[in-house]
Symmetry: C2
Subunit: 750 residues, 2 copies
């Protein structure tokens, strides 16, 4: 692919098209839609973390005036176990518990009533008989020989030897390369540490919310906030066992997802309730429900062993990762295992991973799923190794950093990547040279994310006055409408203000996988570029017909069909606006289209630099300064690239310093609110500085690579390394909250 | 084009996809949408038919609490005269009067307020100073030498000699062919008559209704009932002089249009008011407003002279038509002139037409615009001619009927057409042989309509489970979703129940001209067929890649890619559903697309047969039996084809017997309600029988021709001919209402 060297619109920073609607409060989010006569749906949730469901009696609830429908798992068809990518047998049990409840908050029944209050009363009136079981609340207990078993039918996939009996270990994976034992023997220094990280939540501002409406002919419309409207459609159709064409999903604006809004919870319940009641049904989770019963990120225990030569060359890595999946199998341990050493040229590696079920909500994706905790472990040990060799931590990393041609730990031979450039940018920064004071420390860490591909469709319609509409099907979370419009403007050669980018529903655009995996600007963006090129071809064809010449005698530049060759002698350029105005007489409406299963989204590497000050009296860690350098390939709209770097850094800082789920001994979550689950707020942090490195991705026409996820990967280790520098204490357990830090300081003081 | 001989889905009668929503009252029509905090818009309308506007004072109105915005013509930019297809100079004056008011009901100002009542009060508080002028209320007065002039700048286009001064005759057209004088000299019989028809209204059930919402960045959304959302977008953008990409038009379901909903009235006002107030603004016309201030059909005066030989051969035709345009130029006189003799082989023709402005609402299209009144005249004289030659009226028409190869009066040489087949079907019908009683009479008449083409876009998305969505942009008035789904089913080879046809908004589908001109099943249907064939090609390409063979070794039949040639030896057919499920691995989402400026919609001819009984005591005409035969080319969904035949016949019967605008001497409409404007209701009529003739249109893959309009063309004359047969009286003035018929009977009785 030829990559244009200069851009007219790409790289500029126009106001995002959804900006005015959002700052004026007009934009419609999931809970903003209401219908006359609409019902409210509410969910009965398990108060127990682990119990058999003996019976459910909804008779009293159904007699409350205003109650219009009640559903239990009996209303959902049974599913076959297995399946790719989603195990529907598990999913239907997560939507509504069947044999057992597996976490506090696990849905058991749902009610639709004429008001939210009546629905809540009816939920309270449902009688459930439980047989209580001991809850499994952490990895230790889960793998203990006498552990209570969550799923009697679960056998460990990938275990060697073959699994015999029931277990809470759903699977074991192994990544192996080179002769690890010999490589460790060759090392001059070997460091081994074990780390733990707690369950954390994405903490998106907007709770799950939806409205479902089913008509008498079984046709449903579902408005909801989601990262993937087509995913919601697929999953709901499969759960209800109806055709996808029976469900139209209209994505609302979305107040954050970070991976957490890639599956369904109450959406199938709203559909069921609307089908049963014949009315529109609205369901909006409380923040408590979001914390208790939507997918957080895995808690983990990770052991890392790294060896290096005296000159700083890494020789071998070994790791063992155990990730909590929550109530049903499927933690991101594989991704964590593949990502944790991806920054380095490592000839010998052995990584073992375990996916472990516990009586907590089933985990879901959270920004670079699996990588932050694994990289917290690997980059902590890397730092310690550099220190033990008395090497500058950036120089140590530069010495081992992957570059074009390196074979990545996770398999492929890398094309152009920007890790070295990120490290060099930090090394050469003013930030890195600024002196520190007492109780202050500076940390660095690298991070990597694969970046996703999947399916995308795009359409562009040229309007009769020469303006254009860009239609995609991926909800805009981080400014993708702006970046797609910029790419269309670049190709069509018309001002970006004349382009209206929209996110369509599942009926009006071809299939699109969701907004996730940092894939939209790359995968959907490429589809938009191809759709625009489809239009440019049509414009050239029309000009050729008009000029009575061959297609090769028509170029396209700067928004105009240009006569070339013979045609240049007696023809004038034809602007897009003229061709648009004459469309009816030149072949009809002008529509560009492109669909593909994306390939080639380039990996994005980052290096983060952070200064902290640790208050020895309180244990509070203050982030003084933070610089995130990351490779964007090509930043289409630099403001939103910077925003991604900043947002990921902030979430990583929260994970490092404060965030954690606290359970009591019975498995009741103790801090299911933003008051008690302490995420960083603006006043907690300095401005996050950014360095946008641009090493073009050779697979994209403009060089784009995904940027959304990598930024959350380095901060956990970067902050831990800075705290180590400030205190001399190596923290291996997150979060480094004031009590934990103070306790460690006190221990050191003796 | 190859036309398949047999069909699997086309020609069947599945339940229409919007059926359940409509019969359960769930479907959303124009007035069904409301927003919290929404304002109501109301219009100040002229109480005078003709006056200068001296001044408008909105100060008192603007001080009423709850009034949020007021607009007058000063808020609309001035436009240049002329323009194609719409004269924006006239249109902006019809939206809001400037120098003059030109009909009772002419909008002068619009108000948005927090309730409809407050808006009405504010409208009443606007002070307008008028200088009254004499109104011009009929064609006679309009062309009188001392007539008041509506538009000082109007000169008669096409007049010969060149026009000198101001006039109310906006244009003159002439159609001439052969030597008319000699042809009349050759005739054995010549009959000449003059006819008049009154102003009538389409009488759609749903009044105009819309909601407009404009945000701070100037982006507007407009929900409205319209036949043409893209037309609404274009016209509003031009009237407000903003880009089309600033307006999204979402068409609601539509309760009838019949040509009347092809332009804008209050939509630009709602946009202006929402822009001024920053709030959503809803506007819903009353029935009175619909009658007084939306476009009815032209009143006409038509002189027809026809000559024939003794053997029944028509030799010559001459006609002069004057059509009222209402307040602004643009009656459908040209179409009437071209259509009135189109049923016959006529070597010599001379037709003159005049477009005349009067102080009534500007006319708009009404089903086969211009043809019913002209054909009332021509087919009345044809009947009289047959009678005077003592020929059976069907045989007389058969003798002169156009067929393949005939040169139509309006110009082209005809391809296959079905007039002869329609006439033969009636001649051979049991209806035609049934004896009649006293005071009963039987009438026949033919009719023709061109059928329109214009621009269409269609998309088809194949969902991951093998179901599909068919996206078009033409509002479904007469069942077009059903017919488009059937055509897609036929091409894709999957059951029609697996296809979801939808009407998209102006942002999510390529440009589409409106639902009108009987064009959708032909023009958009062809686009759907082409989009489906685009998909079939993609499926064959994917199968070829999967089988590692050439494209020519892959056929497609019955919903499956079929191995041919070498491939047939070791491959099994691949159903669409399998290819859909594997789409991600075989190239990505499957989207078919087609856009075109249609050509070749075949003309549709009809012949109608009606029995009436005339009550000599009251003058009431009762329709006893009615059979409508019409050529559909190919009936995709026969029920909706029959529905079109029935609906057109009923509207034509109403026009013939009862409908008319009554004005007082000052130009005030006296019967602006469904009580006083008497349209036929179900209890007035027998079941309308239909005969669906199918002479394939060679331009369409299945032979489709438009069917929606022709059916209103024959009834006026058919009923008049039946009344003549029952009473011996030739009625030349419509409507043949009881008082008019009784007066004529009384006159005959002497």
């Amino acid at each position: 692919m030829t990559q244009p060297r200069s851009f007219r619109y790409v790289g500029t920073r126009p106001i995002r098209q959804d900006g005015a609607e959002k700052v004026t409060g007009r934009a419609n989010f999931g809970a903003d839609l209401s219908f006359p006569g609409m019902l409210w749906g509410r969910v009965l949730r398990s108060p127990h973390a682990h119990a058999k469901v003996v019976s459910i009696d909804t008779s009293a609830a159904s007699e409350i005036p205003g109650v219009k429908a009640i559903v239990t798992s009996a209303d959902l068809p049974e599913q076959r176990p297995g399946g790719d990518p989603t195990d529907m047998y598990d999913l239907t049990r997560n939507i509504l518990a069947r044999e057992k409840v597996l976490y506090e908050g696990h849905p058991i029944a749902a009610v639709a009533a004429t008001s939210r209050e009546i629905a809540d009363r009816a939920v309270a009136a449902i009688q459930v008989e439980y047989e209580l079981l001991e809850p499994v609340l952490d990895l230790d207990r889960a793998i203990a020989p006498d552990a209570p078993i969550l799923h009697a039918e679960l056998r460990c996939a990938g275990s060697d030897p073959k699994p015999e009996g029931p277990t809470n270990v759903a699977s074991r994976i192994l990544i192996e390369r080179g002769d690890v034992e010999r490589a460790f023997a060759d090392a001059d220094v070997v460091i081994e540490r074990e780390f733990t990280t707690p369950t954390v939540h994405q903490g998106y501002i907007e709770p799950f919310a939806c409205v479902a409406r089913t008509t008498e002919d079984g046709q449903s419309t579902l408005w909801c906030c989601t990262q993937g409207p087509f995913t919601v459609r697929s999953l709901c159709a499969a759960l209800l066992r109806i055709e996808t064409s029976k469900i139209k999903v209209i994505p609302s604006e979305i107040g954050g997802g970070f991976g957490g809004k890639t599956t369904v919870y109450q959406e199938p319940l709203a559909l069921l309730l609307s089908r049963k009641s014949g009315r529109a049904v609205k369901m909006v989770m409380t923040r408590q429900e979001v914390f208790r019963a939507t997918g957080p990120a895995s808690a983990s225990r990770i052991r890392v062993k790294l060896g290096a030569k005296r000159d700083g060359t890494l020789t071998a890595a070994e790791a063992s990762l155990a990730y909590e999946a929550g109530a049903f199998k499927g933690s991101p341990v594989v991704a964590g295992a593949m990502a944790m050493f991806a920054m380095y040229d490592l000839p010998s590696v052995r990584i073992e991973g375990f996916d472990v079920v516990t009586n907590k909500p089933k985990v879901n994706a959270y920004r670079a799923p699996g990588a932050p905790m694994a990289t917290f472990a690997s980059e902590s040990v890397v730092d310690e190794l550099a220190a033990s060799l008395e090497m500058d931590p950036i120089e140590f990393r530069l010495k081992n950093a992957v570059r074009q041609g390196s074979v990545a730990v996770y398999g492929p031979k890398l094309k152009a990547v920007g890790l070295v450039e990120c490290l060099e940018a930090l090394r050469d920064s003013e930030h890195y040279r600024t002196p520190l004071s007492e109780n202050q420390g500076r940390g660095i860490a690298c991070g990597f994310w694969f970046n996703g591909n999947m399916q995308s469709s795009a359409q562009i319609h040229v309007n009769e006055d020469g303006t254009a509409t860009v239609v995609s099907g991926c909800p805009d979370i981080g400014g993708s409408r702006a970046s797609l419009a910029l790419m269309a403007a670049e190709e069509l050669g018309i001002p970006v203000e004349q382009i209206r980018p929209i996110v369509a529903d599942t009926e009006t655009i071809g299939y699109n996988d969701g907004t996730g995996g940092s894939r939209v600007t790359y995968a959907t963006g490429t589809a938009v570029i191809e759709a625009a090129r489809d239009i440019v071809l049509q414009l050239r064809q029309r000009a050729a017909a008009f000029w009575d010449t061959q297609l090769e005698n028509v170029g396209y530049e700067d928004g105009k069909a240009i006569p070339l060759g013979d045609a240049a002698e007696n023809q004038q350029p034809l602007p897009l606006s003229t061709l648009a105005r004459r469309a009816a007489r030149m072949g009809g409406p002008i529509v560009g289209r492109s669909t593909w299963t994306a390939r080639g989204n380039g990996p994005s590497f980052a290096a983060h630099l952070v200064d902290v000050e640790v208050d020895p009296e309180t244990g509070r860690v203050e982030v003084l300064r933070y610089t995130a350098a990351q490779d964007a390939g090509k930043a289409i709209h630099p403001s939103y690239v910077e925003g991604q770097y900043q947002g990921g850094a902030v979430q990583g800082i929260g994970w490092a310093l404060n965030e954690a789920y606290f359970y009591d001994a019975e498995g009741h979550l103790q801090n299911a609110s933003f008051l008690d689950y302490r995420m960083p707020v603006a006043s907690d942090l300095p401005m996050i500085d950014t360095i946008v490195v641009e090493v073009p991705n050779p697979n994209h026409p403009y060089g784009v690579r995904g940027v959304g996820e990598t930024s959350i990967v380095p901060p956990l280790a970067a902050v831990a390394n800075a705290v180590q520098a400030a205190t001399g204490i190596r923290f291996v357990d997150l979060p480094m909250s004031p009590p934990a830090v103070l306790a460690a300081i006190d221990r050191t003081r003796g």
